[in-house]
């Protein structure tokens, strides 16, 4: 976005503040003004496509959760990133954008499923990837990558097979590739090979 346009935007909506960004323009917007701001962006500023809805978990900080929205103007070919902090750290919530962009529906369900952000006014806020009874939000920082043991979603299958959702074996993992060097030398590999499924992980 051109600097002057951005200044105009800030002048018109005094609650906005610029947000640091390495690629596209980005603004911080208070959660309660989000719907109003996005409606104006869509109707008079040409940002007609909602590309992504996601969130950031800042772990120990407060506010802990920040909702992120990516908008695209298909006429000006510009992206705009909007960030809105959730006031409540325990039960974070944001206003739903379903009334402004229909595309927000499933994106907000996904963010609710994986990050546990409640979207007020969402017509059908159910989990979309994990099963309905799943008790956790797996992309939160306090959720272990291997998972937490819970029963299988189907009781009869669990009874017939004796299987539960159990933490994945993380022997030597997580498997990460280093960012530098040619691709042939950056295959994902185990960082920590000092422990196996037979030998316990050494405590620090």
């Amino acid at each position: 976005m051109v600097e002057s346009e951005f200044a105009q935007l800030k002048e018109r909506f005094d609650y906005l503040s610029a947000r640091q960004s390495v690629d596209h323009s980005a603004v911080d917007c208070p959660a309660d003004k989000l719907v109003e701001f996005c409606t104006v962006l869509r109707d008079s500023l040409g940002f007609d496509l909602l590309v992504d809805v996601t969130a950031v978990d800042w772990d120990a900080q407060s506010p802990r959760f920040t909702g992120i929205y990516h908008l695209l103007s298909t006429t000006k070919h510009e992206y705009l990133r909007i960030a809105a902090d959730c006031e409540d750290d325990i039960k974070p919530s944001l206003p739903s954008l379903c009334g402004v962009f229909a595309a927000a529906n499933w994106h907000e369900r996904e963010t609710y499923d994986l990050m546990g952000i409640y979207y007020d006014g969402h017509p059908d806020l159910r989990r979309i990837l994990m099963w309905d009874e799943y008790p956790y939000h797996p992309l939160r920082k306090d959720f272990p990558l291997a998972g937490i043991e819970v029963p299988l979603p189907a009781d009869d299958v669990a009874e017939a097979t004796g299987v539960a959702v159990s933490p994945a074996p993380m022997m030597g993992g997580p498997f990460v590739s280093s960012a530098d060097g040619p691709m042939s030398q950056t295959e994902p590999s185990a960082r920590d090979e000092s422990w196996t499924e037979q030998e316990e992980k050494p405590t620090e």
Binding site: P138, L145, A146, G147, A154, V157, T161, A168, F175
Partner: protein, 186 residues
Amino acid sequence: MQNTNVAYDSKVEGEIIVTQADAVINWIRKHSVWPMPMGLACCAIELMAVGASRFDISRFGMEVMRFSPRQADCMIVSGTVTYKMAEVIRRIYEQMAEPKWVVAMGACASTGGMYRSYATLQGVDRIIPVDVYVSGCPPRPEALLDAMIKLQDKIGRERSVKNLTERNAKPTKEGSLALAGAGKES
């Protein structure tokens, strides 16, 4: 003079072959496997290649892929099995007509593969008995065909009535399946 010859006289009763019931039944079964393509991820693309003309699974009499478990007897689990999907796979397996076999195609179906994660079942053999495992990510079509040939060999060695005698797989105390007649291979 009493006839002590118990062998079959083809000059009297025509040409037939004497054999064992198991040999005949298994010979028929192994050349008319009806696969159920349980395509879950990228392995299913290689499975499709196996069905297409270049690799041509019909050379082995297995071209009749059925998407209905009622009409299939060999489930090819091709792809990542999530915990959410595990229930579906188990139900489809239970609906298949016996005798039935399972091929775990690729690293994910066999062990969970690279998905050491909260969402992925670490090997489909935790919920259904697997007959043949195929390595690869994804396996080449030749590898799947090799596995199907191994499955044919296995069918040929089985007792043809094994499903009538050992049909109920019960979980053991350790939580693993007592696999009904399904020894692990390859």
